[in-house]
Amino acid sequence: MRQITRRRFLEATAKAAAAGLAAPVLAHGWSVLPSAAVEAGYFEREFGISDALCRKILGEALSRGGDFADVFFEHTVSNWIVLEDGKVNRAVSDIALGAGIRTVKGDQVGYGFTQELTESAMITAAGTAATIASGTAGKAVARSIAVKNLDSYPLEKRLSSVPLESKLPLVLDVNEKCFDRSPLVVKVTAQFHDQERRILVVSSDGRRAEDLQPRSYLAAFVVAEKNGRREQFYANLGGRRGFDFYTSADVEEIARKAVDDAVILFDAVQPPAGEIPVVLGPGVTGVLLHEAIGHGMEADFNRKNVSTYATMIGKKVAEPFVTIVDDGTLPHMLGSINIDDEGIPGQRTVLVENGILRSYMHDRISARHYGLEPTGNGRRQSYQHYPVPRMRNTYMEAGPAGVEDVIRRAGNGIYVQDVSNGEVHIGEGDFAFYVSQGRMIENGKLGAPIKDVNIMGNGPRMLRNIILVGNDFEMSRGGMGACGKSGQAVPCGFGQPTCLVKSLTVGGVKS
């Protein structure tokens, strides 16, 4: 990036603001930066967080004999603009600022956080964290060395430098295109969201990692009406994207998907109830992998022996054409992270390789438990939480089959096109996902649309029952996906090719 002194930068910002060129919604006066690259030293510059201060905080965190400590700083600015009934008449913004201090003793965690980045407040929080240990001797705190940032989501222009005026036409355009698409459309709400999450992690073993994690999406929610009946649907695009990502073709795509998928529901039928073959279409249906195997492979559940996968590493769990990956390095994907919230670089972790279970997803605690390197899966919702192992972008790689073959082989079953949410019970391995859009499959061909049906299965059994994998791998391009665990939500990505599961339990209404 171009070097610029703080003073010159403030002047430049002031001029831009005076000229009405830059009106960042709710950012501080200084937050319009000239470059999109991750510039180091943000917390030191803006809040005076020096390495010496961090070492003092970490020293306090280890004052009762913890093994390891870290301090996590966060400054996140989030904005939403909302259109309802043709007008962008609502803006919502949030600023989250704080620091969390963690002390680890074996697998025990002490945690304190503060919203005031003052030395005394942080020392108090560190003192709270320290109480997880009950000794006296403090470990030495190493001088920190910067961890390399992968830069998986470089942006042409920072989201916070996009003025509100530029965002308004985008949302108005998606509204207009939805109404143009079908006379059945009666209501449209649309929103644009952008967020910049800045984090800094400094640990007692001398790691210092910093990141700027952008996130944005454009979404439309449509209600259509026909013969007194109403149906709703939605569509969104996004990820770790800049404003320039949203082209006119994307707006078109959102409108087309939201409207067409709402209108088709007037013809939807209730699927049968019971165990039937299920074909998962490409993309967002990867939610199935997230629930069926992803959560069960998070290492905290396994080190505690409470996951159904706790004894399966190295064993065959699926056919040889099944490879499932959790990857934090995919460019601009929603679940990508240059560093995780423990300061470990984002990376690609193979969970299932050609049918063999290979690796759990680790944070620092579980990695030490297993004597392995952490995999960069230590994530947290905010400074108010300590990190736990979490997924990033979870997907199945492409297989050998043609898409039509996959559908034909299903015979009579259902085809899942869009999924709104899912859940898993880790210990039993039972999982569910909610189909918001799909089709009947009759005699190997796509039939009537279906909607609103919960599908259940058991993770290990479902893996064994993946009998055909298509060659049409796709990542979901959505920007709204979030995963909840231990009361914490983090953005996650999903993907997969079309695949056939021999049978799952479909919650239809007809026996």
Binding site: R90, I132, I426, M456, G508
Partner: protein
């Protein structure tokens, strides 16, 4: 921060907002101190403690509206924050319906004590917390039997204060405490199945919290009931949704009651006012005045004075949740924008008596996944529980599904039990629903 400090900061924020060009403003500030202690394998697993303060300001400027929240309360940062907020609000589209409420709706508020604040909270010491959690863990372990893989227990308590003021004269404050205790257990079942069950309670005052022994035993009991679960053949059966799970089913009925859903036509209850939406056993009341109720309040998010409200009366829809903004948009009277405590008045018989009467059915004790479409009422969800025959539980079931439509589901509510679940703002008794298609093999 004490209430008057919060009040001062709120007043300062309103003044700043008006100074920056806002016509009207409303400010909320909350301050919360929470402590969590978790145990596993008879030692502390997690200790977490912190205080938070959050400020939210709504700005009304030139007929335009925005809403902002921040945890960065440094005064210079706040000044920039408010100035930017007002400036960007002015760039939005004008919205004639967006105003502060007519001040007459603030009137008539009784600042009565709803039992939300436990003055003994200050005396709840770290060693008390540890003792509580240890006892819950020990009770679970004692009751769990030989198949126990893991037991954990957690206590969380907090003390919170909040204030809300508006530039047209609303002023309200609230103090509350909460205590929760949870135990969970994982057992080894056949093959790789490791069922996990739990029990918890949350209350506003410490003395209402059940004993740790009760929570620990309950967690063990609930988990043991999951052992040997099977998927049954798809069948149409009566289902009893146990009290602590009944709120989930009700949630799908609540969202369509909101003014936003009505206005945006995302509601299967649109045009249903005064019409039958359930059986005569379905009565639903929003009651903000329950002593110690987790949703109790004297005013709502708009500052409207709280009132008891009947939503559904013997199956007939009587009211919606209409906040100030959507009341203007729809041209209706406002009610309140969000639920306080929700109750379905309890029936007279116990779950076991009802089971005897029904003979064969499913006692539904767990949900998984699922969702509900507010526009159409279609809903579908995974379930687990116990099959009962001749009134006696005979088999655990899991990995099954139910699918329905709310407009048909509540019509088949044939009884409610006598056991309201009080550890939630939704104080539901167990619900008995007839003729549910339970999908399995």
């Amino acid at each position: 921060m004490m209430s008057n400090e919060l009040m001062d900061l709120a007043a300062w924020t309103i003044k700043e907002a008006r100074g920056a060009g806002a016509d009207q403003a409303r400010v909320r500030i909350s301050s919360n101190r929470a402590v969590e202690v978790g145990y596993r394998e008879r030692k502390p697993e997690t200790i977490k403690e912190a205080s938070t303060r959050n400020l939210g300001v709504e700005i009304f400027a030139g007929g335009r509206y925005s809403s902002q929240t921040t945890s960065d309360l440094r005064r210079n940062a706040m000044r920039a924050f408010i100035a930017n907020a007002v400036a960007s609000t002015k760039l939005l589209a004008e919205d004639p319906f967006r105003t502060l409420p007519d001040a007459k709706f603030y009137e008539g508020r009784e600042d009565r004590d709803l039992g939300l604040f436990d003055p003994g909270h200050g005396a709840f010491r770290p060693e008390d917390r540890h003792a509580l959690v240890k006892a819950a863990e020990a009770a679970a372990l004692a009751e769990g039997g030989k198949d126990v893989i893991s037991v954990s227990a957690q206590s969380r308590d907090s003390a919170a204060e909040s204030v809300m003021i508006s530039s047209n004269g609303f002023q309200g404050a609230r103090k509350s405490t909460s205590y929760s205790l949870m135990a969970s257990m994982t057992l080894q079942d056949a093959g790789d199945r490791r069922p996990n069950g739990w029990a918890y309670a949350v209350t506003a005052d410490r003395k209402s919290l059940p004993s740790p022994k009760t929570i620990g035993r309950e967690a063990a009991k609930n988990t043991r009931l999951l052992l040997g679960a099977k998927k049954l053949k798809t069948e149409t059966l009566p289902v009893i949704i146990v009290n602590r799970m009944a709120g989930w089913m009700l949630n799908g009925f609540l969202q369509p009651l909101y003014g936003r859903n009505i206005d945006q036509k995302q509601s299967f209850l649109l045009d249903k006012l005064g019409k039958t939406v359930g059986s005569r056993h379905f009565t639903l009341i929003d009651d903000p005045f329950i002593q110690g109720g987790l949703g109790s309040r004297t005013f709502d998010g708009d500052g409207l004075t709280a009132k008891k409200m009947v939503l559904v009366e013997n199956g007939v829809l009587r009211n919606y949740y209409i906040d100030w903004y959507y009341s203007r948009k729809l041209g209706w009277e406002p009610t309140t924008g969000s639920p306080s405590n929700l109750i379905i008045p309890p029936g007279s018989r116990s779950v076991s008596d009802i089971m005897k009467d029904l003979g064969r059915g499913i006692l539904l004790t767990g949900f998984i996944g699922g969702n509900s479409n507010p526009t159409t009422g279609d809903t579908s969800i995974g379930i687990s529980g116990r099959l009962f025959e001749d009134g006696v539980p005979v088999q655990s079931v899991a990995e099954m599904n139910i699918a329905d439509n709310h407009l048909k589901f509540w019509e088949r509510l044939i009884e409610v039990a006598d056991d309201p679940w009080i550890y939630s703002s939704m104080r539901m008794p167990s619900l008995v629903v007839d003729k549910v298609v339970v999908a399995g093999v």
